[in-house]
Symmetry: C2
Subunit: 248 residues, 2 copies
């Protein structure tokens, strides 16, 4: 049986206070999709953040002297730089107009995940405060509405060192373990495996991006046919411990 | 229409000199799979390297003094360390028993992609010399055998900074562009997009890993229903230029 990845289409523009599980469930029903036990639902961070009201109005931001200085050097909006600094607990690199941050959650990414897209309404989108909790809420909602025990991933678009182009990663999970541990397992030849931990949450997030895309407003995808490792995992399980990281 | 990911099953253990396209085509036919124009075939590096005879016998390796010293410090086989050093053109980090290398192709990964699995027959598997060329050969073979114009990705399992767990990435491509460039594109709200380049080759490689897995001997997957960006791309397009990389 193949693994299938289906866009959940027709979800309206998400607003603060919206019940994302209800929006996803209604859109899936209109499409004739019924969620099943074992399905994986991947929801983009932007939709989650909007539903949770994680927006900041640039007019409400008073930039610090550091933000003003950085912004001046790089021809950026100092209020935007200020928001990035506030969302960070550590700066990993700051160079060439790019700030690689460790977010309050521990994710390492550019601009602390603050959406730097043109904001005609003058607002920036921040990461959810607790993306695991966001995923759990959507999972609980879908269990209630669809009667199905699904896993949920909240995904975001991150860059990475050495390789051009962004890929989608998991910043929140519910109802699954994000990493499969093959330690001690052997392949069909009886050889111990080389790559011993596979981050399937990130692979599922990337697979979902093949249908959510970037230009079409598709904030959710259904992945079916993949035997996701069940358990009460957290996206924090994906964060590499400082003492094991060679690139901090 | 969903995107589907199907394991190409029943491919026998690959040996040096094997025609991988023929093995994949025959296995797909036995499975009732007929390749179509626009399909993406993802083939794991290990199968490609074995078919191309990219193996080295540890008994033939004379370790350098540096390899001996490193191996002694880390309780490793000095011949294995020697092979890693030979496959590298630059060492990015060398610490805690891990060597992060820039391979001759320019990929940055642990141990220069040299397979450190237990090798009961005393051999190590190296990366293909030119993984784009490997992908092109498979693509040409499948066009000849199946009459279909498919894209081919050669994938490998890489770690990454900051995030635990490995994911699958593209080290060779044929018949596609590995990165979609959204520069200047706007979303449905008329806002310019934030994450402007998406490395779809890596996302497709990760999606394929959901069915090739690690324990079952499935060296190839078929991805159907994804409108892959066509063109004569190269996995070199994914390598970030040194002057734009903050983590060299």
């Amino acid at each position: 049986m193949p693994v299938t990845i289906t866009a959940v289409e027709g979800i309206p523009e998400v607003r603060a206070g919206d019940d994302l599980a209800a929006l996803i469930h209604a859109a899936a029903e209109r499409q004739g999709l019924a969620f099943e036990d074992g399905d994986v639902i991947v929801v983009t961070q932007k939709a989650v953040s909007k539903a949770e009201g994680r927006l900041v109005d640039l007019n409400d931001v008073a930039p610090s002297p550091l933000a003003v200085e950085l912004a001046t050097n790089w021809e950026k909006d100092p209020r935007h730089v200020e928001v990035v600094l506030r969302e960070s607990k550590r700066i990993v690199r700051m160079d060439r107009g790019v700030i690689i941050c460790e977010t309050r959650h521990g994710f390492v990414c550019a601009n602390a995940g603050v959406d730097a897209s043109n904001a005609p309404d003058g607002r920036l989108v921040l990461l959810p405060l607790d993306p695991d909790a966001s995923a759990r809420r959507i999972r609980d909602g879908l269990r209630r509405l669809a009667g199905a025990d699904v896993a949920v991933i909240v995904s975001d678009t991150f860059g990475r060192p050495w390789r051009s182009g962004f890929t989608e990663v998991a910043i929140g999970v519910a109802g699954m373990l994000p990493i499969i541990d093959y330690v001690g397992k052997v392949d069909t030849q009886g050889r111990e495996l080389r790559a011993t931990w596979i981050c399937v949450a990130d692979e599922l997030a990337s697979a979902a991006e093949l249908v959510t895309g970037k230009l079409n407003r598709v904030p959710a995808a259904l992945i079916r046919g993949y035997a996701v490792p069940r358990g009460e995992g957290s996206a924090r399980d994906i964060l590499r411990e400082a003492e094991k990281d060679m690139f901090r």
